[in-house]
């Protein structure tokens, strides 16, 4: 049996799917003001689910429980933006490593992300070319001096030119900052895949602003899982409509910030049994159009959260639906009566996913094929190392991504591997609340 949980602003939705495809839903009402209350509501809902199973004499073992926390994270960010800067929390200190600093303030591009206007930005010499060669020697002395000047307790984001190909300068500066100062955290932009310096920095800043909250929350969720379902694998939904280990919520919460719309697409498609093409999710609050390819949401390499520029996280593509389109739509449509339950169903169905995004230097077509195979093997190996059977892992996507005016010998490789295992047919419980009604094409 697998469980999906959607933690919303007004209610917690829980959905269970047994190995026969039988779906049960529980909704717990409440408007929690903090994470503690959220956990109380969640515990309540889980216990009710267990009582329902026992009443139905379902003795199935819970193998995985997936949390969709995107709505909560997004609400938290929106709340932080509305508070005065002093209350909203400190903006991370930015350390930018480049061959030369900007000649003027306009070239610091402080309008490219919220919070940059008031951010401390420090420049260090360094950086690498597209093929990983040093453009300028790293100013390690400057990094050591900087470590002494930065106040203790700060969060620091380090971004270097060319770090995607060669992260050495970022790592060396990070070490100097940790050794010589007392930062709370040092984040590195090379953890996020993008050939845009600004997008990587923005993503690392956003992630850093989320980790303090999510680290505690993830620990508490894990403890609740252990208490109620000690043998279940705890997972968290991700922006691409997949899922990953709950422990990653502490480290890279930015990859779960938009998980709720993605989970809604997955849930709606599972409910309808729709695996290819566009799908209209007729949510009375926010109708959404999603796109499926081989049962998975189509994913862009970046997405743009509200009021933030493009960030380097793979997000399920979705579109808001104008009224005219809603009226004229003749394709597959799911009429949603409980959006939270659809998200929870999506969380339950979300396949465990591993991505490998890498820049590879190639000279021939054979080298390109070999680089692709290597990336696929890496993605598979990661999933197998997490305990999934090799036979359950498949490559969902494996290709090169286009790059304009790039180096002719460097190609961006993108591989997505997933763990299958969802029952092929879902049967919604006849008991209310009804998950969704459907209209097929």
């Amino acid at each position: 049996m697998r469980i999906g949980v959607h933690l919303g602003n007004e209610r917690v939705a829980l959905v269970s799917i047994d190995d026969g495809g039988q779906v049960c839903t529980e909704l717990v009402e409440g408007s929690p003001s903090d994470n503690g209350q959220q956990l109380d509501l969640l515990a309540d809902g889980l216990k009710r689910l267990v009582r329902t199973w026992k009443a139905g004499q379902s003795g199935a073992q819970v193998r995985r429980i997936t949390f969709d926390v995107g709505t909560l994270l997004d609400a938290g960010m929106a709340g932080a933006r509305q508070r005065p800067p002093a209350e909203a929390g400190a903006t991370p200190v930015l350390v930018r490593i480049a061959p030369r600093p900007p000649a003027d303030r306009a070239h610091e591009l402080r309008n490219s992300a919220p919070g940059l206007q008031r951010a401390q930005i420090h420049h260090l010499f360094g950086g690498h070319s597209a093929v990983g060669e040093e453009l300028a020697p790293l100013d390690l002395g400057g990094a050591t001096e900087l470590a002494r000047r930065i106040s203790p307790g700060q969060r620091i984001v380090v971004t270097a030119v060319g770090s995607l190909t060669n992260p050495q300068h970022e790592l060396a500066v990070g070490k100097a900052l940790l050794d010589g100062g007392q930062p709370t955290e040092v984040s590195y932009s090379h953890a996020y895949f993008s050939t845009s310096f600004a997008a990587r920095e923005r993503t690392a800043m956003l992630n850093s602003s989320l980790t303090e909250t999510t680290a505690r929350f993830a620990t508490e969720l894990a403890a609740l899982c252990r208490e109620l379902f000690p043998l279940a694998r705890p997972l968290v939904s991700t922006n691409d409509g997949g899922s990953t280990s709950l422990s990653r919520l502490s480290v890279s919460p930015v990859h779960s910030l938009a998980s709720s719309p993605a989970a809604k697409i997955v849930g709606a498609s599972a409910h309808l049994g729709h695996r290819e093409g566009k799908l209209l999710i007729d949510d009375p609050h926010q109708p959404l159009l999603g796109q499926l390819l081989d049962g998975l949401p189509v994913v862009g390499s970046r997405y743009s959260p509200t009021e933030v520029g493009l960030i380097a996280s793979r997000g399920a593509l979705s579109w808001s639906v104008p009224d005219a389109t809603l009226a004229q739509w003749s394709g597959p449509r799911v009429h949603v009566t409980s959006p939270e339950a659809v998200c929870a169903l999506g969380a339950a169905c979300a396949p465990v996913t591993e991505w490998v995004n890498t820049m590879s230097t190639i000279k021939t077509h054979e080298e390109f094929t070999a680089a692709l195979r290597m990336a696929e093997n890496r993605a598979h190996a990661r999933l197998v190392s997490l305990g999934y059977a090799p036979s359950s892992v498949r490559t969902a996507e494996s290709r090169a991504e286009a790059a304009t005016f790039g180096h002719p010998n460097i190609v961006a490789i993108r591989v997505r591997a997933v763990v299958d295992g969802l029952p092929t047919h879902l049967a919604t419980s006849p008991d209310p609340p009804t998950l969704a009604s459907q209209q097929g094409a």
Binding site: P102, N111, L135, G162, A198, R399, A402, A403, P408
Partner: protein, 359 residues
């Protein structure tokens, strides 16, 4: 005419429309750089008709030349083009009075605006390509037999050079090598000429047309009305609405001065079930439907969203997505025998393909 923030947004949209490429970020960052200056109190970029200049005013063409490092990664520090213009003025022996972008599409258009705000130099409402081409020598200036040099070049590492080159095709070779050495791209100021010469050889009015195109694209008009208006304004034709079936991006080494082995995207025509093929290398080079060439270089082939009429990038060519493929003609100079030799299908390794009903 002083451009406002709204004008810059329209110009951005128009510049992206005429140069369907992978990512819009580079253009957006250059627009943002101009906005940073404007929000700090600088007047907006000045866009002037060539007739506003004295005949002997020196006009320079500015643009990035890339070799591997995106400008969004190794960002300009802000003195590169200032250095280029100073070096060029010194080499020619008189100050630069106006600038124009090296290409009439994509980032170099927004670059010209950012440099105008930064330096106070007006931008000539003109460019030497009328669209974007990959090589520095693929300009109407080359067709007119005008020298490319002297060329001033500067990189993000603070290094610079002045090249005494007259043959445009040699300039591309040398500048690409410099770009490699300078970190992955180089800022250039080239094709110095009197305003009188620019008046007879440049493609006049190209930038204001981009603003008009962008303004239309950003309007709330329904998609069908946008198509009709674009046809009247710029001869844009909606060729096919199709669903992407397969997108194979290939990375093949290309020789200096040439582009080879374009990637291929296959789509299915929604209305008639025809097979649509796009050949792509940095931008869309050729459109074929059921094996027949419907458009090819130097035609401008670009993508629009069927619902909103918004400009799409090559990133939107993912399997299952539906796009409108539209075509607009390039400047007439590109359809002459000399123009086709420089920037037609054969120059892009597409053989001797000609589209149907060539003008």
């Amino acid at each position: 005419m002083r451009l406002s923030e709204a004008d810059l947004d329209h110009l951005l949209e128009g510049a992206l429309f005429t140069s369907c490429s992978v990512s819009h970020e580079w253009c957006e960052e250059l627009r943002d750089t101009a906005l940073e200056y404007m929000r700090a109190g600088a007047p907006g970029p000045e866009l002037l008709d060539i007739s506003a200049f004295e005949d002997t005013d020196l006009i320079a063409t500015i643009g990035f030349v890339n070799k591997g490092q995106p400008v969004t990664e190794l960002r300009p520090v802000g003195d590169e083009f200032v250095t280029c213009l100073e070096l060029l003025a010194e080499a020619v022996g008189r100050p630069v009075r106006g600038i124009m972008p090296l290409a009439g599409g994509n980032a170099n258009v927004l670059l010209a605006m950012a440099i105008s705000v930064q330096t106070g130099l007006p931008v000539v409402d003109a460019d030497p390509m009328g669209r974007i081409f990959p090589l520095v020598n693929q300009t109407v200036f080359t067709l007119a037999g005008l020298p490319v040099g002297p060329v001033a070049a500067a990189g993000a590492l603070g290094e610079s050079a002045v090249l005494q080159i007259s043959r445009p095709e040699r300039a591309d070779h040398v500048l690409r090598s410099l770009a490699d050495e300078f970190g992955g791209w180089v800022a250039t100021a080239s094709y110095p000429m009197d305003a009188a010469t620019a008046a007879t050889s440049a493609l006049l009015g190209s930038l204001s047309q981009l603003i008009s195109i962008g303004s239309l694209l950003r309007s709330p008009l329904p998609s069908a009305q946008k198509h009709a208006a674009l046809r009247r304004l710029a001869g844009v034709k909606q060729v096919v609405r199709a669903e992407v079936a397969q997108a194979g991006w290939h990375a093949h080494p290309s020789l200096p001065g040439q582009v080879k082995f374009p990637s291929q995207v296959i789509l299915n025509d929604l209305a008639q079930g025809r097979v649509v093929q796009l050949q792509v290398e940095n931008e869309i080079l050729m459109l074929m439907i059921d094996g027949s060439v419907r458009a090819s270089m130097p035609d401008i082939i670009t993508l629009m969203d069927p619902e909103s009429g918004a400009v799409l990038s090559l990133e939107h060519l993912w399997p299952g997505n539906v796009v409108d493929v539209v075509v607009l003609p390039a400047a007439p100079a590109w359809y002459t025998p000399e123009g086709l030799a420089l920037a037609g299908p054969e120059a892009f390794g597409l053989g001797t393909h000609r589209r149907e009903g060539r003008r």
